[in-house]
Amino acid sequence: MFQSIFILGLLAQPPANVAAFDTPNDEGSSITVTWEPSPADSGNLFLFRGYEIYRSDTPTGEFKCVGFAAAGATRFDDSNTDIQDGQEYFYVVRALTSSGHEDSPVAGPVASSAQWFNTQRVNVLAITLLISALVIYYIRRARAGDRLFVRKIAGLDAIEDAVGRSTEMGKPILYSFGLSYLNEVWTLASLSILHRVAEKCAEYSTRLLVPHYDPLVMSAAQETVKQAYAEAGRPDLYDERDSPFLTADQFGYAAGVDGMMMRERPGAVFWQGYFYAESLILAETGHSVGAIQIAGTTSVEQIPFFVVACDYTLIGEEMYAASCYLRPDPQMLGSLKGEDLTKAMILVFLAGAAVLGTAGVLSSHFFDYNGLNVLFENVVQWFNTF
């Protein structure tokens, strides 16, 4: 055993084919170094410790250690802040063994530069352009007078009933954004729903409580409610203190909203935003006070909890469609139609890929032909780049 360790230590060799090149698709100041593993890199960490990467401005100058790569690695991205674009650099990769080290030949010169286009995102650009083109096409068609059909969304239709029921019972309404922040798309979608709820509350003179987790969302929501009250001709009903900030702590917020529900006993509760583990704590408390509950979230993990505990649930994209549904002007409906067509195309693509994959397995099994399998793997790889 000790003899073999000694021999391997003596036989330590440097990594082969060391290459240094500008890191592709980046904003510069980064050089990638690749190599083939040293013959001593056998996976035994006791015998082979890893690689040290050295950099210098000149091929014969003093090389400075800029990083370490573990045993088995064949790549290192040198993104140290001292790399200047356009400046030429030289690299050496040192293999560290239990008995010493071996340096590779010098690789370089290489200079880093920033790229003007990230070629890895061509697919994303293509699908973005396709969606944009479809949305704009349908908006134009809708403007030209085409009638576009939108299916019924029960959760949105129930808003008026929920507010009316609360009014009849003389109870307030509670609206929560969950743990949403203002830079998230679902928060903006939720603001549209809040606007409609606030309009109805103003119309029926019902108190609207909106407890908050994020002060920025609080500011936006207060403005939305104020505007809705003003549009309904009841600016006098608006009270900023009904839309308070509670805390920026997840379970502290859950406790605060639960307490508010137990004290105020709302007749209707709206959970519209992004929720985590507190979703069921909130929705079950809402159920226990006998409120009609309308939830909506894009959090796939929390949807089942809301489906179980609430009367209506807007599932995923229905939340985004809410603003179009509540204000069905041609531009909004056109964008919705464009989205639906893109979804249909993705479904066709997925069905086609499933057929191709199945045909690949069958042809490989019965006819010993692997061409379809290879094609399927290529399609999967291409799809994974999205």
């Binding site: 980046d26 904003e27 510069g28 920033a114 790229q115 003007w116 286009f117 990230n118 995102r121 973005t128 969606i131 949305v135 830079n183 798309v185 679902w186 903006l188 603001l191 549209s192 606007h195 908050h212 994020d214 002060p215 920025l216 609080m218 500011s219 403005e223 939305t224 900023e240 203190r241 308070p244 900030f245 379970f251 502290g252 859950a254 307490g259 004290r263 583990a277 069921l280 704590i281 079950e284 408390t285 159920h287 894009t298 796939v300 179980v308 505990a309 995923g316 994209e317 939340m319 985004y320 469609a321 603003s323 531009q331 909004m332 964008s335 919705l336 464009g338 989205e339 893109t342 993705i346």
Partner: protein
Amino acid sequence: MKRDIPLIITFLTGFLCVIAFFIPHPPFGDLQQRFLVWYAIVAGFTMILGLDSLVKYNVKKITQHKPGWQYSYVLLFGLALVLVTGFQSWFKYNTPFELRSSFMYSYIHIIVPLQATMFALLAFFISSSAYRAFRARTFEATLLLIAAAIVMLGRVPIGEMISDKIPLRSDWLLNVPQLAAKRGIQVGVYLGGVVMSLRIILGIERTYLT
């Protein structure tokens, strides 16, 4: 004009973020990060607004003797206590996050147990909601009950003791129908997000502007 300026700012910001996603070259490459830093700065200042709102809300409750007004005293006392311990720790250790500080003591020994208590309540809420969801009154509810029973049994050793097929069926339910439904919803969510963003950038969606 009052509406046009925010719309122009929204359009430019959204458009630049989209461009930055495809162009890594400066000055576009780090634009999104830069915007996020701006957002963080604005968000930091709005915490003062939040504090103001919290104090006003609780003072109103106390002065109007609304239900549970006594708890508002507890909240205001807690708020003051955290502020005082935070500043005291800052002066003493140059950071409030020093483990020996009074601020961290109150965090570790008061706030963390309170958070854990709220989280622990989830178990009781799951039981009550599961009772309602699993009442086999309809075909769908019966299906849900059977699926849930298989999945739950498949996750615990007793399931394997009953039959070695239960864990396999449980995995199949999670990896095939459950995952398919989840991914279907996710595709809709992502596409909906893209189209919603497009509506906002193009100024079609204006509900957030008040």
